[in-house]
C-alpha cells in the first residue's frame, strides 16, 4: 500500500504518514483516559482522607472502579500502542504493516473503553479494577474490556508484522535497535496479558449474561492476575525502553552494553509475568511450591533485569556526559545534567522512584512470608503507585514533551511550568507512595471506604500515625493531581494552540539505509562510570536494609518461640 514519509526537521526521524496519524490518535485517546482517571483520583483520595470522607460508599466504589480501569488499563495501553507504532515504523524507518487494520483495531479499543466507562458510570458495575467474582458487573462492562483487548492484540500483531516488513525491505542492518527490542518485550508481555484476559473475561461475560452458572472465584483470581499484573509489566518494559530512548535523545547516550541490556529484556520476556503470583501469596488452595517458584525464584530474574536497566541507563548517561568533559569528581555529570529539561527530569525521577520505591517494595511483597505483613493493605497501592505512576506515567509524560514538537509539530506552551511539572507531580507522588506504604504497614486496608469502620460491631483503634499518614496521602495526592492536571492542560493547549512548527520534507519513498563508515585506527574506549557505581551501591544498601527491617518486623509481630 502506497504511503508517504515525513522527515521531521527537529529530530531527523522519519514518520510513515499513516503510522503518524495512528500515534497521534492513541496518544490523545490515552490522555483523555488519563483525564477521566485523574478526576476520579480526586474523588478517591478526598474520600480516603479521613478528615474529609467526601463520597458516600456506593459512589466511592464506582469512582474507584473508574479510576483503576481508566488509569491501569486505558491510559497506559493506549499510550503503549503509540509507543509500539513509534518503535516499529519510525525507529525502523519503514511503512506500518496493515494500516487499515490498525485503524479498525484502534476504533475497537475506543469503543471498548467508552463501553466500559458507560457501564461503570451507570452505577451497577462498581466491581473495581479487579472485578473479582462473585461480584457481578453489567455485561457491557466485560464486553468493553474484551473489545479493547481485541483491538490491542491486533496492534501487537501489526507491530510484529511491521518488524517483518522492515526486515524484508532491509530498512535496518543487523539487530533491531535496543528501544525497539524493549518495545518488542512489551508487545510479547501484552500478548500474554491479553490472552489471559480473554481466557477469563469471555466466560465472565457469558456468566453475566446468564449462560454460565458460576465462575470459580479462586480460578478467576489466578487467571485474572495474568491480565491484571502482567498489564503492568507491559508498562515496565515500555517505560524502560523510554528511559533508553530519552537518554539517547537528550544526551546522545549509547547503551553501555547492548548485549547486557538485551539480555536483561530477555529476562523480562521469560520471567516478568510470573510476578502475577504475588497477588495470590495469601490465597488458600495454591501450594507454596507454586507460589515460591513463581515469585521468590523466577521473579528474581526479572528483578535482576530491572537492576541491570537501573544501572545501565544512568551509566550510559554518565558515559555520554563524561565524553563531553563533565569529569570532575563522582557526580559532575549528574549535577550538570539538564535538570530544566522536562524530558530528562521526568525520566530520571521515574528511574529513581521506580527503583527505590516501586522495585524494593515489590521484591519485599514477593516474598511469601513478608507478604503477610502487608497483604491487601494500602501498602499495595503504595507500591503500584510507585511503579505505575512514578515509573510509567512520569516516563510517558517526559516522552510527550519530546513528542509535542516532533509528532504534533507544535511548540510546547508554558515552558516555565514544563520545567517544574515533573518535580511537582513526581516528588508529590514519591511522598504519596511512601506514606501509603507506611499506612499499609500499620494495617490500613487496601480499598475500604472508611478506614475507621465506623458503626462496625468490632471497632478497631488505629494508631495516630495511621491517620497522619492517610492525611498526608490526601495532601500530597492533591499536589500530584495539580501536577498531573497541569500536564494535561499544558499538552492539550500546546497541541491545539501552540505555535505551528515546520512540517519537514514529505517523500514518497523512505530514505535509503546508509551504514556508518567502518572505523579505522584506534577506537575510543568509553569512560568508566564510578558515579553510577556509587548510586548502585546506595541502592543495594537501601534494598538490603529494607528487606532486613521487614524480616525483623515480621519476627516481632509473629514470635515463633
Amino acid at each position: 500500500m502506497a504511503t508517504t514519509y515525513r522527515i521531521c526537521p527537529r529530530s531527523g526521524l522519519q514518520f510513515d504518514t499513516a503510522a503518524e496519524k495512528l500515534m497521534r490518535f492513541h496518544a490523545v485517546a490515552g490522555v483523555l483516559a488519563l483525564l477521566v482517571g485523574g478526576i476520579m483520583a480526586l474523588g478517591v483520595i478526598l474520600t480516603r482522607w479521613p478528615a474529609i470522607k467526601l463520597l458516600p460508599a456506593d459512589t466511592f466504589y464506582m469512582v474507584l472502579t473508574a479510576h483503576g480501569i481508566d488509569m491501569l488499563i486505558f491510559w497506559i495501553i493506549f499510550f503503549e500502542m503509540a509507543v509500539l507504532i513509534f518503535a516499529s515504523s519510525t525507529l525502523l524507518r519503514c511503512r506500518l504493516a496493515m494500516p487499515k487494520l490498525a485503524w479498525v483495531a484502534s476504533i475497537l479499543m475506543v469503543i471498548g473503553a467508552i463501553m466500559t466507562n458507560v457501564a461503570i458510570f451507570q452505577g451497577e458495575s462498581s466491581v473495581m479494577f479487579t472485578s473479582y467474582v462473585p461480584m457481578q458487573a453489567k455485561p457491557h462492562f466485560y464486553l468493553g474490556l474484551i473489545l479493547f483487548a481485541v483491538g490491542a492484540l491486533l496492534i501487537c500483531f501489526i507491530f510484529l508484522g511491521t518488524l517483518v516488513v522492515a526486515k524484508a525491505e532491509k530498512t535496518y542492518e543487523g539487530s533491531i535497535p535496543l528501544v525497539t527490542f524493549g518495545a518488542l518485550t512489551a508487545c510479547i508481555i501484552a500478548i500474554f496479558t491479553i490472552a489471559s484476559g480473554a481466557i477469563i473475561l469471555i466466560p465472565t461475560f457469558l456468566w453475566s449474561l446468564g449462560y454460565i452458572r458460576e465462575i470459580d472465584s479462586l480460578m478467576y483470581r489466578v487467571v485474572w492476575w495474568g491480565l491484571g499484573h502482567s498489564s503492568q509489566q507491559i508498562n515496565v518494559s515500555a517505560h524502560v525502553a523510554i528511559w533508553y530512548a530519552i537518554a539517547a535523545i537528550v544526551f546522545g547516550a549509547k547503551p553501555m552494553s547492548e548485549k547486557v541490556s538485551r539480555t536483561a529484556f530477555f529476562l523480562y520476556i521469560l520471567f516478568l509475568q510470573l510476578a502475577s503470583a504475588h497477588h495470590l501469596l495469601s490465597d488458600p488452595g495454591l501450594s507454596s511450591e507454586w507460589k515460591i517458584v513463581n515469585t521468590s525464584y523466577f521473579m528474581y530474574f526479572a528483578v535482576l533485569a530491572s537492576m541491570i536497566h537501573g544501572m545501565t541507563v544512568p551509566g550510559a548517561i554518565e558515559q555520554a556526559q563524561r565524553l563531553k568533559g563533565y569529569n570532575k569528581g563522582l557526580f559532575e555529570w549528574l549535577r550538570k545534567a539538564p535538570w530544566g529539561n522536562p524530558a530528562f527530569s521526568s525520566m530520571f525521577l521515574s528511574l529513581i522512584g521506580f527503583g527505590f520505591l516501586g522495585g524494593i517494595s515489590g521484591v519485599m511483597m514477593g516474598a511469601e512470608q513478608l507478604n503477610m505483613l502487608i497483604h491487601n493493605t494500602i501498602y499495595v497501592p503504595g507500591h503500584f503507585h510507585a511503579t505505575v505512576v512514578i515509573g510509567t506515567t512520569l516516563a510517558f509524560m517526559g516522552l510527550t514533551y519530546f513528542l509535542v514538537p516532533v509528532l504534533f509539530k507544535r511548540e510546547v506552551l508554558f515552558p516555565g511550568f514544563a520545567k517544574i511539572q515533573p518535580y511537582l507531580f513526581g516528588l508529590a507522588m514519591y511522598v504519596v507512595a511512601l506514606v501509603m506504604m507506611g499506612a499499609g504497614t500499620l494495617g490500613v486496608s487496601r480499598r475500604h471506604w472508611d478506614m475507621a469502620f465506623a458503626g462496625a460491631p468490632m471497632a478497631y483503634e488505629w494508631p495516630g500515625a495511621a491517620y497522619l499518614m492517610m492525611g498526608l496521602t490526601g495532601i500530597f495526592s492533591c499536589i500530584a493531581i495539580v501536577g498531573g492536571a497541569g500536564w494535561i492542560l499544558q499538552i492539550v493547549l500546546s497541541i491545539l494552540f501552540g505555535k505551528k512548527l515546520e512540517e519537514g520534507e514529505i517523500r514518497s519513498t523512505p530514505i535509503p539505509l546508509t551504514l556508518p563508515a567502518p572505523t579505522t585506527g584506534s577506537t575510543v574506549h568509553p569512560p568508566a562510570t564510578p558515579g553510577t557505581m556509587v548510586l548502585a551501591l546506595i541502592f543495594l544498601t537501601a534494598f538490603i536494609l529494607y528487606y532486613f527491617v521487614n524480616w525483623k518486623y515480621l519476627s516481632s509481630l509473629w514470635g515463633l518461640s
Partner: protein, 48 residues
C-alpha cells in the same frame, strides 16, 4: 574472512528472532503460572 564476519553468536540469533521470543514469552508464564496454578485448583477436593 567473509565467514568470520558472518558468524553470528547463537544467543544473538535467538534475540533477533521475534517469533521465537513471542513463543518463549507466552509459553513460560502459561505453563509455570496459569497451567500449573489451574491444575492445583482443579485438584482441590470438592466439599461434600
Amino acid at each position: 574472512m567473509a565467514d568470520q564476519e558472518e558468524r553470528i553468536p547463537v544467543m544473538q540469533k535467538w534475540l533477533d528472532n521475534p517469533f521465537l521470543l513471542v513463543f518463549l514469552g507466552v509459553a513460560m508464564p502459561t505453563v509455570l503460572y496459569i497451567v500449573w496454578g489451574v491444575m492445583e485448583i482443579a485438584n482441590i477436593p470438592v466439599a461434600r
